[in-house]
Amino acid sequence: MRKPKLAVWKFASCDGCQLSLLDCEDELLAVAGAVEIAYFPEATRGVVRGPYDVSLVEGSVTTPHDAERLHTVRRQSRTLITIGACATAGGIQALRNFKDVREFTQAVYARPDFIDTLATSTPIKAHVNVDFELHGCPINKHQLLEVLAAFLNARKPNTPSHSVCVECKLRGTACVLVRGIPCLGPVTHAGCGAICPAYNRGCYGCFGPMETPNAPSLSRKLAACGMGERDLQRVYSTFNVGELPFREEAARHGS
């Protein structure tokens, strides 16, 4: 039986999510055994022509060229899975969506007229049909393997969309928020394994909003922990600011 062909594509991103695939280390041989890595420029210059059975898409769409290129990716892919906050929500670069991108280019580049960029950073789903979205900044490698194993064997991946709190409780971490440390865990999508609270840090919301977030209620608690209006605006304005519940909550605070 022919091995399924896997492609890994990059749009506007830092490459951290594709690196999660290389970071699989012990499991990497199993991945290479289960699929033919047909297109993965981050790892190899060898290219096997499409179409591809599974495409992993990293990054957001920020240029007219990428908006076009994404359609060619979709046309060549039986299953298209987005990986990471850029691809699912627009990433940190979606902060441009609320500002004038021309002002940025003029401030940053000596010749801004060379820059051909869109006014917004948008997720992959804003342009083409997406079969599955894997959250995280970066994604969790165990979840990536789970999603690949699920798709290769035609079952639903186990990537629960409940809060990070459930993961803290499973590993036995005493709630940091109740101990006075600001934390976005209650409104954040599970998947990282609740790493930060295990080290006495609050959750930064890297995995984006959980299934039914109640950010206004959490913000009242964060304010009681000492966060000011500007802090509240910024804490929701990170990698997943493109997701509506975070964007709306950020907009409720500030100045």
Binding site: V31, V35, C175, V187, E211, T212, L218
Partner: protein, 376 residues
């Protein structure tokens, strides 16, 4: 209860109890200070116990504080419950591997080790008794719970103080441990730091006999009774519970459910810390090549969307419906299902709710006593 007279032990005797349990092959679990909280973890000696520490608890608020004395059990219940050990958060049920002539399924073998729980509070004994009814006394016995529960040795501790969110007196579950233990301790703080020991089983008596102890005198018993009376007198919360089942079931459309939904994060923390909540999800996984598969069971919560997912969507999609489901099950429908309330008044759901939603306050509001919370 039994014919064994109460005794008094010192730190040395307590150390002997721990050593004796370990020598008998028990894995001793008890209170330890970790990450600024008093959690349940492995105990090797008296030195592991949180001497001189207590906790400050309110709705959505927990801090450990230094005590002025060296009390070993001078705190109230913390973020962990014993269900963590009897009903583990994550459990592999079986593993299957493809073989030449089909498939081989191997069930996970139950652990051979036996637990000894040190410093189980009265509310927690009641919580264990409730999970016993759920897992052992119904038509379907849970073999995983049974394997861990049977043979577990329980050393109870009577509370000498109540926490800010405690309301065991309202639920008739404490603070005095009445049954369900092998030994029960009451810490006697004073010039002589000692522990009154009551015996609840023959094996408890045998363990006590093997450590240095003296017979309890009248003033020891009086001091212990005073400690328990002190706890009884400073409950942080109160909740009228005799009619709460009827009250809730008659108010399923009360506007208070909308009010609580506005605050509820639907994060699931209350269910995870509750010592009686027992729901689980089952997940199947397979390897990349499709040659091996596993079935796992993990704690689930009625606050997740997956919990009530059926074809077409989640039945309880609003925060209002999920909070109402949890509270009416805990305080009302549990009675019909299992014969007792599902609440033991430990206060964990109040303390560990990040936004401090208070079940006693919600009951008061539905009762029409709005404006005042459940604070004593």
């Amino acid at each position: 209860m039994n014919d064994h007279a109460a005794a008094v032990i010192t730190h040395e005797g307590l150390g002997g109890l721990i050593a004796g349990l370990r020598a008998e092959g028990f894995r001793v679990i008890g209170p330890r200070l970790r990450d600024q909280a008093i959690v349940y973890d492995d105990i090797e000696s008296v030195a592991d116990l949180p001497a001189g520490w207590t906790d400050e608890q309110e709705g959505g608020h927990y801090r450990v504080r230094r005590r002025e004395d060296a009390a070993l059990f001078g705190y109230n219940v913390g973020p962990h419950a014993w269900k963590r050990f009897l009903h583990p958060p994550l459990l592999r049920l079986w593993r299957a591997e493809r073989s030449a002539d089909g498939m081989t399924v191997t069930a996970t073998s139950e652990p051979a080790e036996r637990y000894a729980f040190l410093a189980v509070r009265s509310c927690e004994l009641h919580a264990i008794a409730i999970q016993d009814r759920v897992f052992l006394q119904g038509p379907y016995v849970d073999p995983h719970y049974k394997a861990r529960r049977e043979g577990a040795f329980i050393v109870a501790v009577n509370c000498g103080q109540a926490g800010g969110t405690c309301f065991c007196t309202s639920m008739n579950t404490g603070p005095k441990a009445e049954e369900g233990f092998d030994l029960s301790l009451t810490e006697l703080l004073g010039d002589r730091h000692e522990f009154l020991v009551e015996v609840g089983s023959e094996r408890g008596a045998a363990l006590l006999a093997a450590v240095p102890h003296r017979p309890a005198e009248r003033q020891d018993a009086a001091q212990a009774a005073n400690a328990v009376a002190r706890a009884e007198g400073n409950m942080g919360r109160h909740m009228r519970s005799d009619d709460v089942r009827e009250l809730l079931l008659a108010n399923l459309e009360h506007p208070r459910w909308d009010d609580v939904a506005e605050r509820c994060l639907t994060c699931g923390n209350c269910t995870m810390v509750c010592p009686t909540c027992f729901c689980t999800a089952v997940e199947d996984e397979n390897d990349l090549a499709g040659n091996a598969a596993e079935r796992k069971r993990r704690w689930d919560s009625c606050f997740t969307m997956d919990f009530s997912y059926i074809h077409g969507g989640s039945v309880r999609s609003s925060g209002r419906s999920r909070y109402r489901q949890w509270m009416t099950h805990k305080l009302a429908n549990w009675v019909d299902q299992f014969g007792t309330s599902g609440c033991v008044g430990c206060g964990r759901c109040i303390t560990w709710c990040p936004v401090g939603i208070d079940i006693t306050e919600e009951v008061r509001a539905i009762r029409g006593e709005g404006g005042s919370d459940g604070r004593a």
